[in-house]
């Protein structure tokens, strides 16, 4: 009886397992089918849109090309374009905006600023759709539309990183220098903002932004200070040399220290040389590496002895950087390298010195 009972139980269990398995397989099959359908629908939608763009281009390109660079009123051309094709037209415009300059570019920007496209984009600015708002902000920024500036400034306090980023970038493209402080203030409200994003915004301004940033640098946090120094470095802003010393003195963040050292080297800031020399013995090898390069750039051969200490560094990279710095500091640097190359006490430093000297021999074609 027991045996029969266990047999029946086992059969029921197996049927139940099989049934569950069948359900799982069926469920997976339906999911896969639905997934394929969704992919196909998206693909079809893309194809349909691409076809629309292609048709639009085919039809409007000759009229558009005749208009580009001409003194014609843009409305003569845009009034003929159906407003339902606005999105496609904007995409079409974008392809040319980034490739053309001079009068041709100006004629494209006139379309954005002086035709029904302006009203279309203005309504997009007020749209609930983030995508549409971003698009409008982008085009107004490209077109340097001053009328829109107050709206863009108001967007700087919106806690949406995309809206903030695009608005700040558009203001920077307009070179609205008076908004620099507001952009930095807005950036502080954005929790997810990275240093790279901030730098990319600030670099859209022209070099004059440095004069505004130098006034702000002391009050900003280290992340923002690093971004500002990066901007200075990009614009090779020599006027920042006097403040560098204080910034380095106060810096605690590794990235900020490295950025300051790099910048000091780039602009050959004599004011900062003594501070940077103290970093030759910093516990962090990345900082020591940058300090070596920077001291060489600022001090030249008068600093050869200071740099030579780093030939015996415990970091291989710092040793190589020191040797490469010395090889460029002729004749003192090369004399030091020659001495180190034959020394017995420090085999690693000796081999690095030999390597750098032999590279120099190969490059110059002379036995150094």
């Amino acid at each position: 009886m027991n045996l029969l009972y266990s047999f029946i139980l086992s059969v029921i269990t197996q049927i139940s397992i099989l049934s569950t398995l069948t359900h799982i397989i069926l469920f997976l099959f339906i999911c896969s089918f639905l997934f394929v359908c969704v992919v196909l629908l998206i693909r079809l939608k893309d194809l349909r849109f691409n076809k629309k763009v292609e048709d639009f281009t085919q039809y409007w390109a000759p009229v558009f090309f005749n208009y580009i660079g001409s003194d014609k009123d843009p409305n003569e051309f845009t009034d003929r374009i159906p407003k339902k094709n606005a999105s496609i037209f904007l995409l079409f415009l974008k392809k040319y905006i980034h490739s053309l300059s001079g009068k041709e570019l100006q004629s494209l920007l006139n379309i954005i600023n002086n035709t029904w496209i302006f009203d279309y984009l203005l309504s997009d600015l007020k749209s609930r759709s983030i995508e549409r708002r971003l698009r409008a902000i982008y085009y107004f920024g490209i077109a340097k539309n001053q009328i829109i500036k107050p709206i863009l400034i108001s967007f700087l306090t919106i806690r949406n990183l995309q809206i903030f980023f695009q608005s700040a970038r558009s203001l920077a493209r307009m070179n609205a220098l008076e908004t620099t402080e507001r952009i930095l203030a807005g950036a502080r409200l954005q929790k997810k903002i990275s240093q790279e994003i901030l730098v990319s915004i600030l670099l859209e301004f022209n070099q004059e932004v440095c004069e505004y940033l130098i006034k702000r640098i002391y009050v900003e946090n280290e992340k923002f200070k690093t971004a500002i120094i990066k901007v200075f470095r990009n614009f090779n802003y020599q006027d920042a040399s006097p403040i560098l010393r204080k910034i380095i003195d106060q810096a605690k963040d590794k990235l900020l220290i490295i950025e300051c050292i790099k910048f000091a080297g780039q602009i050959e800031s004599l004011n900062a040389l003594d501070n940077i020399k103290t970093y030759l013995q910093h516990p962090d090898p990345d900082i020591r590496s940058e300090a070596v390069k920077s001291v060489k750039q600022i001090g030249g051969d008068t600093e050869s002895l200071e740099i030579s200490v780093n030939l015996y560094d415990n970091s291989w990279q710092v040793q190589i950087d020191a040797a490469e710095a010395l090889v460029n500091l002729k004749p003192v640097g090369i004399s030091i390298l020659k001495l180190v190359a034959v020394s017995q006490s420090e085999p690693r430093a000796a081999s690095i010195a030999q390597m750098v000297l032999s590279e120099l021999s190969l490059e110059s074609g002379q036995n150094v």
């Binding site: 390109a61 090309f65 079409f92 392809k95 490739s99 001079g102 041709e104």
Partner: protein, 124 residues
């Protein structure tokens, strides 16, 4: 008597710009052939022997500098003037173009009237 049209090959992967340049230069009396990648550019140039070539530096499959070297390295095509289109005005890239035999360069973004002026200067 009709003035013979100058033949020009324009190699550019941006189809929109390619269309515009083709349109503008055709209106100025050039016979323009636009190519969208560098793969067979040299073979076509060798086959058609245009009066001038405009080469974008960044091209799919084969870059503009390689094509330029091919043009200048072949006695049949070496006399064809080449204008390079570069996205960045980086000194080393421009120097490389001139070392390889480019007649001129234009940085993007550019304007078609300036391109036309450079073409005419070289051809005249």
């Amino acid at each position: 008597m009709n003035k013979q049209k100058k033949r020009l090959i324009y190699v550019e992967d941006n189809d929109s710009i390619s269309m515009l340049v083709k349109y503008k230069l055709s209106k100025e009396g050039f016979e323009v052939e636009a190519l969208s990648d560098g793969e067979h550019a040299f073979e076509i140039i060798q086959d058609q022997l245009p009066d001038i070539v405009i080469l974008d530096l960044m091209l799919p499959i084969k870059d503009g500098l390689t094509i330029l070297k091919e043009i200048k390295g072949n006695p049949v095509t070496s006399n064809i003037p080449v204008i390079m289109l570069t996205t960045h005005a980086e000194e080393d890239i421009i120097l490389k173009c001139f070392e390889a035999g480019a007649s001129d360069y234009i940085t993007k973004p550019f304007s078609t009237p300036v391109l036309l002026a450079r073409i005419n200067k070289i051809l005249n």
